[in-house]
Amino acid sequence: MRHHFIGAEHLFIGALMLRGGIIASLIENYGYKPEYVIDAVRRHIGKGSHQRLWAGMPNSPRAEIILGIANDLALEDGRADISERDLLRAMIEEGGSIPIRIFARLGIDLPLLTQDILSFSTTSAVPLPYVKIEFAAGYEGDPIIDEEQLFVLRRMFYGYARIRLERRLLGGYSGALLLAATPIQQDGSEDATVVVKIDDANIILEEARRFERQVKTTLPPLTARIEERPTAPETSDLAGIKYTFISGIGKAEDMREAAWRIGLAQLGAWLRHELYPTFGRAWWGQRRPYRFPAWQEYDFLLPPLFILDLLPHGEQAPEGALLLRDPIRRERLKSVELGDTVVLAGFSISRLDPTRSAVQLTLGTGIEGLRRAYRVEVRGIDLRQDTHYLGEVIEQLAGRVYATRSELLLSMVRNLEPDFDPTGATIPSLPPFERLPNPLFHFESLLDSTIYGSVSRIHGDLHLGNILLGPNNSPFLIDFAQARTGHTLFDWACMEISLLNDLAMKTVGQSWADARRVLTRRAAFDGGFETTPDPILDDALSPIEALREIVVITLADPNDWVEYWTALTFCALRAVHWESMPIGSRRLMFLLAAYCCARLAPQPGQTGDSSLTADGGLTDASASGRSGSGLPPAS
């Protein structure tokens, strides 16, 4: 129907299409054909359009409410999964959705329908034996796996006699445990090695959901898949997932390690000619035009808008305090200063941090909240005393601004021990850029700029650690926790961050001078100036050339790099505060953001001098959209 979201009506149509299902049978008993009812719903809502105004496939708030009620009904009944009956009862209880309105129009009596739905039946589950865990002779990596992880691991391989852990994989920057494991049957025969990921249950379940919805149908024939439902024991906060390799995997080596073995020049060619075409067919290659304000796709990469201190109990917010609620008036955000009182309404909890007594709130509801704009952190909530849960909607909450985003970014930069003044309008660099614009002055107007780009299915966390090298050098991707429909170039901007951190920075030291050297050599790929070669570093940077080719293919307009530089600015700013990244790389990330800002400046060629004012050129360049800004790629 080209609606690009899941609403109550879609859930309902799905239920109606179940042959012999409860609602389809009942509707026929009442004298209607299911097709007639579906048609009535369709007429009421009409067909969507080609143009996309948002990315992804969100659930409507009402669908979330209905699913929440259905989930409660299932839990009351002692089941983990929602049945059709729960869904129908939830829909009737909620009462305001389109299908229920249509029922009223058709004269279907709701209390009677509820009675009829209740007169149907259900089933149950089984216990578990012990699975032995052993380590392979060549097991590499930190052998410490804690009790809880072992518990989940055993659950995952229920039915096998034992499993042999082959090696630990590096994985991403998160705390997930990634292992290559071989399950062994009761009779001693071995099954194919799989990659196991164990992480926080919310993250794992979300990844499984995304895999089902976004990834499953789009994978190349030979690659890693999630074939089974995730294992999420009720007694643990952890859960596990298995990636099965359809063609079998020998060593399970990730690209962060394999890159050095196969050679960096080959890595570039491999990214461009193996990885991109293999996944590109259903992913980045399926681009559709997408016009969006940069904040819609990139705000979530930055620190929260503010950190608030919860007002002491009993204290009222003063008259005239800023009220933040949907719809947000963006210009009002900019006036917020330290010590102001801010009232949040209709935010929901997207992260709980008991050690710091803090919660992170995002505007709106639903699991997509993690990636939404308008994140606020609130301190001073005693999570041991008050019970809060993820996704909980906070109707109203007032707090005093403890720190704004600008201050948070500034302190991130101070943590890098800059050898320059981080509050200045420009920062020092190496020739040919004597000075580069300070990104801290530009990120706000960049967030408000409009991007003329494209939307496609993306991995959402593309880096060398999530790419495995399979037999015959075939590419395997893992970690689909962030897979979604989003800005096509996001994946490639993430990839550039990975190439710089995992490869180029490995050949130099951690100082600012080293970071500047890498930036200058990186910039040389964009052309426009003469430089002296730096053989070892240039070799480590060589995959950038292939990356640039991929970027040119995926740009909405191959002659306008604004789209890419904008994406890269935010990806680089995010990496500035990645604690798992070495300090040298984080220094480079800040310089890279500055370089992108210079590229986004309106005067081509005159990168990085005082011609960029704090609120001057950049705003104009982005307001005028695609014209003029961003240097063309070197031919």
């Binding site: 609403g7 109550a8 809502i45 105004l53 409410i65 389109i98 949907d326 719809p327």
Partner: protein, 114 residues
């Protein structure tokens, strides 16, 4: 006069979301005892409907006169409708809305909450 109103989305991607507008915090325009709310595609409208491609830039106007809401279409391309006895009626000039009555702006069904 400190009027306030809550609208609920009744269809589309934002189905089920409610939007509360308060004259006090600067929403809408108060003039001659009337409170006027604009509906349109841009986010500077009082009721921005950015996720519906059938919305015109300046699509419709909701006016509170006394205790009654009026819906007026501003010559939008795809029109505004009210639901009456299960039928969709296109709004030609300003029509009064009764409590909980559904109305459609572009492709999006809305209602004023009690």
């Amino acid at each position: 006069m400190k009027p306030a109103v809550t609208l609920m989305f009744m269809s589309g991607v934002e189905d089920g979301k409610s939007l509360t507008l308060l004259a006090e915090s600067g929403d809408g325009t108060l003039r001659d005892g009337e409170w006027v709310l604009t509906v349109g595609r841009q986010d500077d409208r009082d009721i921005p409907l950015q996720r519906d491609s059938f919305i015109s830039r300046e699509h419709a106007r909701l006016t509170l006169r006394g205790d009654r809401w009026w819906l007026e279409d501003l010559k939008s391309r795809n029109g505004s409708y009210v639901e009456l006895d299960g039928e969709e009626i296109r709004v030609q000039e300003a029509v009064a809305l009764h409590e909980e009555q559904l109305f459609k702006i572009g492709r999006t069904w809305l209602r004023i909450q009690k």
